[in-house]
């Protein structure tokens, strides 16, 4: 009846989100036209073309490519790390990155704010990795970082709220808006719920609570009991792993097998749930992630579908 008026391509806003939500996203939307934006859609429906992320710098690397150097780095927030890169065709960013990297290599660590565009790549087994291609970045102070934590906690709460509101409405834009889902979240939620099915966003609350408690002055939540001697996966390089298996990854792997055994109702156990179980048992998030990789690589558990783990049939 009424034609859509001519679409204008306007700048996409920078979504505030924590690393965990971005990392777990596996749905993407590529624009059909040459200049149409592409998006990563998270499990709770953030539709991301551009993001503003902050955190401590964690690894910076230069690679020499055919068309010049390109750079990779990680920025860590309370929930995990954002992978970002600077492409060879962004020479205007190279001096700034080099300058920060020189400091990094001298052992300096600092907080960074980064605005980047959503990128992703798929692995051969169908796994999806999300990353950000830097547009602008700069060092920030702690105050700016904590303000970002609060803003991002609120943005995430708003998305969780909209996601749960959407569960009570039909999955179409008009019904969602009528149910009170904010206009900017409607499209993402329709796509997310269509793709990820039922998803319980409770896992994202941990990061929110952590961010808010940091901002109110506590550095972290009730810390999980310390394992006797937590292990460093990275120390256990593939060669070394065979020679010197430390007891703890073994514990973690038993825990993984046990968790999958007890919780798998047929669909498999979700990656996130496994991590949570391990963290509750006292492993750090990172060692939990690595133990899961380890368990899968050793054939203790299998991942028939990306992100879902099952026991290997006897």
């Amino acid at each position: 009846m009424i034609q859509e008026s001519a679409r204008r391509i306007s700048r996409q806003s920078a979504i505030r989100l924590f690393a965990q939500e971005y990392k777990e996203a596996s749905l993407t939307e590529e624009g059909s036209g040459e200049y149409d934006p592409s998006f990563v859609i998270t499990k709770i429906g953030a539709k991301i073309n551009r993001a503003l992320v902050c955190g401590v710098i964690d690894r910076m690397e230069r690679r020499e490519g055919d068309s010049g150097p390109n750079y990779t780095g990680y920025i860590r927030d309370p929930t995990g790390s954002h992978l970002f890169n600077v492409a060879s065709f962004q020479p205007e960013l190279h001096p700034d990155f080099e300058e920060l990297m020189a400091r990094f290599e001298n052992g300096d660590r600092f907080l960074l704010a980064l605005v980047g565009k959503a990128r992703w790549f798929e692995t051969e087994d169908g796994g999806m990795f999300t990353s950000l291609r830097a547009e602008e970045f700069t060092e920030i102070d702690r105050e700016c970082y904590t303000n970002w934590l609060v803003e991002t906690a609120e943005a995430t709460l708003r998305r969780i709220d909209a996601h749960s509101t959407s569960l009570e409405a039909d999955l179409n834009p008009a019904a969602l808006e009528a149910a009170g889902v904010p206009h900017d979240l409607v499209e993402g939620i329709v796509l997310a719920r269509g793709h990820y099915g039922d998803f319980d966003p409770e896992g994202y609350r941990v990061g929110i609570l952590q961010a808010l408690s940091m901002a109110t002055g506590r550095t972290s939540l009730d810390e999980p009991p310390q394992p006797a001697a937590p292990t460093l996966d990275e120390a256990t390089q593939p060669e070394a792993a065979g020679e010197q298996p430390t007891p703890e990854p073994g514990d973690a792997i038993d825990m993984i097998i046990e968790t999958v055994r007890s919780r798998d109702a047929g669909e498999g156990v979700e990656y996130n749930d496994l991590v949570t179980a391990l963290v509750h048992a006292g492993h750090s998030r990172e060692s939990a992630e690595d133990a899961i990789d380890h368990a899968r690589d050793q054939g203790e558990v299998m991942e028939p579908r990306f992100g879902f783990f099952q026991l290997v049939p006897e």
Binding site: M1, I2, Q3, R8, S10, R11, S13, A14, S26, T28, E30, R50, L52, V56, D58, R59, T72, R76, P78, E92, E105, G107, R109, L111, V115, F121, E122, G126, F129, F137, I140, E143, C144, Y145, N147, V150, E151, E154, L157, D184, I208, L209, L212, S213, A215, T216, T219, S220, L221, E223, A229, L232, E234, A235, G266, E267, S284, E286, R305, F306
Partner: protein, 562 residues
């Protein structure tokens, strides 16, 4: 636990990995992660180890790049037996779903035939089997043409087929089966009609109608038209009828097959030969009294091209000037700044009216015309203006009058003056700093040349350009020389010196460090058009909030308990 003992467990591990690292420095690093970067020691472990490994010159693991290029092909024959992440457009020939038991769970899989080269005749196509693991039944209807992204090739007994995986994206390029549903011909309300351009049917009450003439551009004569307004409970809209309209104001009309077009920025209903109009009866429909409010607007509602509106304003300043018009006659125009609780604009009067600052004016039948990107009110006849003796609101102090507008409302509204909004800087434009302007037209020169006036000796000017963003909406932020100097706290000369010393890149980098990811409150005016929203700042200041207070607000707002 002593301060140092707090990190004992982690320090031990770091020492295992980096035996030469100094214990004190390790503790120092963990404390820094915890206090400055807010990362507890158990989570900081990997980072800290890496740091000391690097310091000791030890081999580090590289960030792996499992990236594998997407493989885009037109024909099946281009595919190898191991290809994954394949992108191809295919025609779906058959689709047969089936429930399969996979490790004790029931899963729906489907198989069928697809053909490549879908846009050509079927004699030049190759047919393959496919298997759908992704429950894509809705997108793979027989007869449709789809683009598959992230499919993989499967080879079994020398026969190749395509797997559509759970992560495969299926985009329907041409629907199979029945065509898309027809658009409805139900009447819409005026609010809906105003939001889009195109053909519509509406039921609305005729609020006003008066004959008018349009002079043809080619000078071949005049056209009789009728202009007026239509209203319903959702709002009102102007109309332009190219055919005679005999109905009296107040009549309820059913109008089929009119079109909505935009005149400047204001939607208008066009009634032509093919539009059918009939009198409609509905006793529940909003009456003329209900609708009389419809064309009363506030300054914040003004849009270029509006006509016949009613608005009340407070006069801030008033001047008159005379000029010679094209035909040589002397004309006088009066104008001034006016305000209301919703904002600020200019009022131009082509008639004798001389209000004092502070007076309240009630305008009827006013029109809106854009001047330098802002919508301004225009009145042509003194009879349209009445000077109110009763103040409609407590007198507003123009100096302090800034209307708070959040970014989303600003971006989705019209151009406005006298507003205050806030956002986080997410981009610093690299052309911030000293620019050279054309002495003729003030355009920024590129390579010493003006788009309009050719090579020029430019005049130096200072300006800053950022993008502000609140996570939902964004706008360009532009600061002219005065606003920039106030913002930077230094004058144009100092900026010029800084750029001469550090280069433009250095200046922009230090600017970026100062503003990127920081929140600002901006007073100024907005210009909203097809290119997006731009904010011309009079004054920009950093928002000082303590994170703890902000966090407590957030927790209260969302009912979060730590």
């Amino acid at each position: 636990m002593t301060e140092d003992g707090r990190y004992a467990t982690q320090v031990k591990i770091v020492k295992q990995e980096c035996p030469d690292a100094d214990e004190g420095e390790i503790v120092q690093e963990f404390r820094r992660y915890e206090e400055e970067f807010l990362i507890p020691p158990e989570d900081a472990l990997r980072s800290v180890v890496r740091k000391f490994q690097a310091a000791a010159g030890m081999e580090q693991t590289k960030i792996s790049a499992p990236s594998r290029a997407e493989m885009k092909v037109d024909r099946f024959s281009e595919l190898g037996a191991d290809d994954r992440n394949v992108t191809i457009e295919v025609a779906v020939i058959t689709y047969t779903p089936r429930i399969q038991m996979v490790r004790g769970e029931e899963r729906q899989v489907a198989f069928g035939w697809i053909e490549d080269n879908p846009w050509e005749g079927s004699d030049n196509r190759e047919r393959w089997d496919f298997k759908d693991w992704g429950e894509q039944a809705e997108n793979l209807a027989p007869g449709s043409v789809v683009r598959l992204e992230g499919a993989s090739v499967n080879e079994w007994n020398d026969k190749r087929s395509l797997n559509i995986n759970r992560t495969t994206r299926v985009t329907v390029l041409r629907e199979g089966g029945t065509p898309a549903t027809q658009v409805s011909s139900d009447p819409v309300d005026i609010a809906t009609a105003s939001a889009n351009e195109g053909y519509i049917n509406i039921v609305a009450r005729l609020i006003s109608a008066k004959p008018d003439v349009i002079v043809k551009r080619d000078g071949s004569g005049e056209l009789d038209v009728v202009r007026g307004r239509l209203g319903d409970s959702s709002g009102s809209i102007g109309f332009l009828s190219w055919v005679p309209l005999e109905h009296e104001p107040g009549t309820l009309l059913k109008i089929d097959g009119a079109s909505v077009r935009k005149f400047r920025e204001t939607p208008e209903i066009n009634i032509g030969d093919r539009t059918r109009i009939e009198v409609y009866h509905d006793t529940a429909f909003a009456s003329m009294e209900d609708l009389s409010q419809a064309n009363k607007v506030a300054i914040s509602d003004l849009r270029n091209g509006m006509r016949d509106i009613e608005v009340t304003v407070q006069v801030e300043s008033w001047v008159q000037r005379s000029f010679s018009s094209e035909d040589g006659t002397e004309r006088v125009v009066r104008s001034g700044d006016v305000i209301d609780p919703s904002g600020r604009c200019r009022l131009t009067a082509w008639c004798e009216v001389d209000p004092e600052p502070g007076d309240f004016l009630h305008l009827t039948g006013a029109r809106v015309q854009e001047w330098q990107g802002s919508p301004d009110l225009v009145v042509d006849d003194a009879a349209q203006i009445s000077n109110l003796s009763d103040a409609p609101w407590e007198s507003i102090d123009p100096e302090q009058h800034w209307v708070d507008v959040d970014l989303t409302s600003m971006v989705s509204g019209g151009s406005r003056r006298g507003i205050r909004t806030s956002g986080t800087v997410v981009a610093v434009r690299p052309d911030s700093g000293i620019v050279e302007r054309c002495p003729e037209c003030r355009r920024v020169l590129r390579d010493g040349s003006c788009m309009e006036h050719g090579p020029q000796r430019g005049e130096e000017d200072l300006r800053l350009r950022f993008v502000i963003d609140d996570g939902v909406s964004n706008a360009s932020l532009l600061m002219s020389k005065d606003a920039s100097e106030a913002f930077l706290g230094v004058n144009q000369e100092s900026v010029k010196e800084e750029i001469a010393r550090d280069g433009r890149d250095g200046f922009v980098a230090s600017l970026r460090q100062r503003v990127l990811a920081q929140r600002f409150s901006i007073k100024g005016r907005s210009i909203v058009d097809d290119q997006g929203a731009m904010l011309l700042a009079d004054e920009t200041e950093q928002i000082q909030t303590t994170a703890a207070d902000a966090a407590n607000d957030v927790m209260q707002r969302w009912g979060v308990v730590l």
